[in-house]
Point group: D3
Chain length 322, copies 6
């Protein structure tokens, strides 16, 4: 491992121009309005997970297109009063797994809603359980180029909409405090966190870790590995598709969401991150509109701060709530 | 490269028992019947490809579910009389590419119909252009586990149906000889060739090269690379799904199609093939019902005989037609 | 990934002869007696971990040679009565990490004592904090050949002794049920689990996952990766040391501990495990003396059952305790 | 894949100083004069290739030193009048293969002469058939350092001379239009194309794709893979040979040929090309004397435009000829 | 590293049938007779190497075809009486290097003649200096397939002849004892050692280490790396050349030389050797006619016994000479 | 291989600021004083190595903490008068090996003392034989982070002290010229050479080859491979340890020793060195206080000049001594 991006000094002031389509806000307003034509239809059933300190419910709701999206809701058994909530999004390729894999937020006194990423959940961990009944087109294996020919059909249009709906789900559940909903996630989950922070105006806090899906144009030029390189390989085959593909991606760039996000935020970034190069993270961080702070991990690749950052988040969010 | 499977002597007599569901024939009869409820709706328009010896048409037809499937039809300009036809299916990840990439069959006096593989076409070459508007479920990136939870939703149910419809398309086109339609393809294209040979009773000949999609159970155990290992990784995540997944795959195993295929056949196999291990190829070859012969490439990996096998096929098929 | 060891059928009955020194029991009796000349000197102080459902204490005790060994004790806040205990040992290269990384056992109603592995803790995770003030000799980087010239100086003599002392520590702590102490761990932690089960006569249960440190002679012949291959490379340099090295290892072989272990056990094994090949796991499993069962993961490499196996263990142990 | 060379903006104006020996023109004049002391002795015999739209002849001629060099001549059967000609040179390690592998030019109305590269033809494809009876010296495996101690003995002196003789062969054949001979090739074939364009004054057009053999000094510094790194490794062994080796290479640098080439040209370059880094291609392109244009593939490695560039060439050359 | 060939028990009795052409002896008798039509023309000049304990001469002689072959002769300065001689041959890709790289034999009281391998010497070390003015044909990069179409043109015909001539050179030099000439070498040098032992009837001893060039047929099937896989790749391209290539190789197989070798021998073999698999070494060892012994390195890859085997050879040869 | 560091022109003037603790000199004065409280206790016994031109003794002495450190002393048998001495230190992971592996210095008229590196000697070659009875702490496998939490416990404190004691040992041995002791070594041996040159005021000469252990801060940022990346990975786990770790390393940085070294020096550097990047070498070279010269190998990775540099050193040192 070695550094292969800008220096720490350059990163701190890195504010690139990232393409933004004129109708960005309209596109997302229309998208969310369309989703809201479907009843949210939240369903929650208890699971038989063998834990006594927390209770886990199998939650689902109507996401983009009314498609069913699954999640786990984990809450401390000892809770009194409405709980502050953390909605978490997952890294690329993973699923919500078996119930109980993530107990930290609930053990720290939060309700924790862990959203499945549609179509994903078979690349690591113990699996996902949410389908995605839409046409991916002639795509490169993976999700980065699914429906990339048009913003309307692009995969992440559906995922980001699901995320907004997950926040709405959290707010609708009994025993949860709708005014104190925060969002978090690492890598792809960090990218979804940024999108949600840009699309939902009144979140309590946003905690993106080593976020993916930021400054696609630079990422494609400098990242040598998946998932960004799925886009590279797609463009290497569809040699004339560059302009259209990057136009599509401009509707989904974390930098454009950061420019609209107002919730207090705690980022993390790893300076030896080969998957989500630090300059793409700083491009979003330096554009972020809310109060912002960032944990910098100088010697880590994409694992970033690991469990240390989780502890940091819990402590930070508890202070903010206090 | 080195050999890593059975010896040539063992391969020659390798006839493993491969699981076959009781309703295999019913499943496929129902599937094809359902597809035929959609009008085939063949469309053909000339392309502007800069060739003078051949003419290339952009052909499409209604595949599984009535979904639009694209193909190129290449015919020799100098043709007189109805042409014998070769329908070709593609290797994993590729598309029909730009018009004209494959001229050999047309130069040898055949009509050549090259079918796009739905959803694919962004991993190598110059691309595919056919979508696949169905739910892949929580799948591993790629196509091997798309819809694997049920035979009815499995990806290759649609692809194999498309292939049967492509043969029907060839038979419907003017200037082509419906009684002399042969099928061919390498790797995934070889697997589709076998399926087509098992599903279409009156093909003239079948020429699968280093076919994929044969004897899945053994392939998963011994193949260390994609695409077979997409299944391995899916099962590594969905730890309880083994039985259901292999039940689904049994409806799509090339060995089961080979047991039903009656067209004269020319296989090829490479003894150092790491992607489609030779024992999986021989499992299908030794089960094949029609007149059969096989070219053995002793020192090749998955590239097999390359252009040499193409020349061999042309010569072989011309003899058969003579 | 592919299978590269014996078939499932062969594994089920695999009972190889593994070298056992005549003075195996004496060696360990002397070793433990020597360790017990040091006062156990258990110390426990609360941590400031930001959790409310569990409480975490920083525990240490005198291990081999009286050296200080660190651990985390995590207990459910809501506990009533003496808690059943799970002592957990770690995988190769890892440390006990920051407090709170593993909450599952405590959330399920157990006291959980997580022992640091001396000298390790800088290869993954968030670190270990226990030194090992002994001479490693001219060793290959890593721990597998540290002091290998003599059983008395071999690294794992100290680690296995620490593990026995950790059980004694658990039994000495207030609020914990000394009669219901179980041991567990994955990979190296599984090997330590086996050693502890062979050395401590009255454990409640033992749950080794994909255990390492079993049937060294075969492991060195067939494993192509670290950590077993540290031994291979050591012997490749010290070309005359084979006999002495394997004599040393025979005092530490999980198979020899399994032959002495009487606690009810739940193993796990992964059939595509390249790091701890399944035959080395079955060599121990088939030699195990107590009531035994095993979870077989057919398509996994060394990650084995992952969180799924953790859930399986909790359910299994709760049943056993019920 | 990622970009690892200059930016597109820097490439567009990249005009490095490349060493050129004073006697460059004399060296090549003498070399060609010497070759021409041998009778060209063109021989052409029909092949039995199973095609009807084209006819393929096995052509050979006297190359450097009078050594026999083989080629395939493919012509459309339907031709009327003298055909424009495309002479094609091959990529590194390949051979002319079996007759008929490349049909596109002939199908588009051109005579196509495909020259074998002496000594090569056993690394990919279906083989070459031309020897090279000369001393390679104590060379690194491969051809890049064969005879590198002196320009007179360097391998490419013979290959470039063969290429000039191949053009003369094309001009001598009946039914071909000697005034409309163009040259093309990819990678090594692109380098030979440039050399031929610099050595033959009256070519109709030159179409080098992702050309190799340009700006050796920079290539050795930045290219991490074969074939350029054959030179690096040779110099890593022959530690004092740097000056002499680069003097030799200066007689063969595509940049020096580009400075002399006057035929209209269509280059291609791939911005993620690791084998022939784009700066080495632009060094030649920006020095090229004739009318020039270039296709830029922004997301491709050394495969460049693939079949898309072939179509582009055919269309471009047809326009030029119209 | 792991074992990937037969077990030690199987190796000890491994005596495969290896093809031998009927005219093997005649072929070599003719070859050597032809070489001897050239005067040996030994030349020896002192070097300026900065050593005082040994003296190094730059020796050359007429090898195959009368081609000049270079060597270093290193002798102890303190020698009295005619010295026993060790002629050494080099591993694949290396050269005789700068004078003085190997001092062990001379320091132990031997004259040491180190023969350059024609054409090689640019892949590792400090280089070779001997050319090979012959046609390699359309060969795979490297030397394994140079001239493989015919035994008369195969590269090793020249190398093995050079080796016999090197022994003759040693016997002709003043101060060296012509009756006590031994041969040695590792890897390729071991293969040349075997050939020399089979072709020169009155050698004192032969010491092949981890010899290459033995039982080509099996080697090609099981070796996954260079140099054996140069043959595999050649045959993967020249798909019809299998029979002819293996016929050529049968004239050069170390097993056939071993069947004729009578000098006392000390082999070495490494059981984890991936480059020269142990079964190919035992195929030669078990066929060897003279008194034989072998050092077995159980945990080494192709480096075998390294300097330890060098010490073993010196001690063994001194005992034999005593 | 390719260049991946500063250009030759930048390297020539590269003089970075490298952190130096205020008490650097005091730390080392105290360390050496402490070591000297132990009697040097030099022991030397003849070995049975089978050489006649040189004699080899097994030497040991009291290093850091009085720990026993082993070495080989090789001297020419023909020596008359007190010999100039070369003390050599080893590359990372290696040991002094079996006696006689390095004969060049003795053959050139020098006494050669080859010091074992404590704890090392099991990663390549034929082994080391010196232990290191100290606590490595929770270290990353290898030696780079052993005891890194404090300068007093850091591994190289002991090694550098051993090296100074080795020079004192050489000066104490009969037949050796205490006024003409030089030091050398490659890679880690080069780093130890620099440390010794900085700590021993009256050395005759210092010859570090491609030295390791220089400018740690930059090395960690740009080196992608072991051993520097052991530090990177340690810091990736111990996320808060950066400041303390680099403080420790500042006491051991070759640049700080170079600033104090006065012996005439001959460095070597390789411009494609990925293990010890050239800028880290030049950081030390350009800071070196004594007369200095450097051999630059433009196309080599970490092997540098190999045997060629050895010859260069011998010639250079002989001139200096003349």
């Amino acid at each position: 491992m070695a550094r292969a991006d800008l220096s720490p000094e350059e990163l701190a002031v890195y504010r690139p121009t990232v393409a933004e389509p004129e109708d960005f806000d309209a596109f997302w307003a229309d998208t969310l309005a369309e989703a809201r034509t479907h009843d949210l239809d939240v369903r929650a059933t208890p699971t038989a997970a063998p834990f006594e300190a927390v209770s886990i419910q199998d939650v689902s709701f109507a996401g983009f297109g009314g498609d069913r999206v699954n999640a786990w809701l984990t809450t401390p058994v000892a809770a009194t009063g409405d709980l502050p909530v953390v909605v978490e999004f997952l890294g690329y390729g993973g699923g919500r797994e078996l119930p109980g894999v993530h107990l930290h937020w609930a053990n720290a006194g939060f309700a924790h809603l862990l959203m499945d990423t549609r179509g994903q959940g078979s690349a690591w961990g113990t699996g996902g359980h949410t389908g995605d009944p839409h046409d991916y087109g002639a795509h490169h294996p993976g999700f980065m180029t699914a429906g990339i020919a048009d913003p309307a059909t692009y995969y992440y249009r559906r995922v980001f909409t699901d995320a907004v709906r997950a926040v709405e789900t959290a707010r609708s559940l009994p025993g949860l405090d709708a005014t104190r909903v925060s969002v978090t996630g690492g890598s792809q989950g960090g990218g979804i966190t940024l999108a949600t922070a840009g699309l939902v105006p009144d979140l309590f806090a946003a905690m993106p870790d080593v976020p993916f899906l930021c400054h696609f144009r630079r990422a494609v030029d400098i990242a040598d590995t998946n998932p960004y390189s799925e886009i590279t390989r797609y463009l290497a085959i569809h040699r004339g598709a560059e302009q259209q593909a990057f136009r599509t991606l401009s509707y989904f760039d974390g930098v454009n969401f950061a420019k609209r996000a107002k919730a207090t935020t705690l980022f993390s970034v790893a300076l030896m991150d080969k998957i989500c190069p630090p300059s793409t993270v700083y491009a979003a961080y330096n554009a972020y509109q809310g109060d912002r702070s960032i944990e910098v991990y100088g010697f880590n690749d994409h694992e970033g701060g690991g469990f240390g950052q989780k502890l940091r988040q819990i402590t930070w969010l508890k202070s903010l709530l206090a």
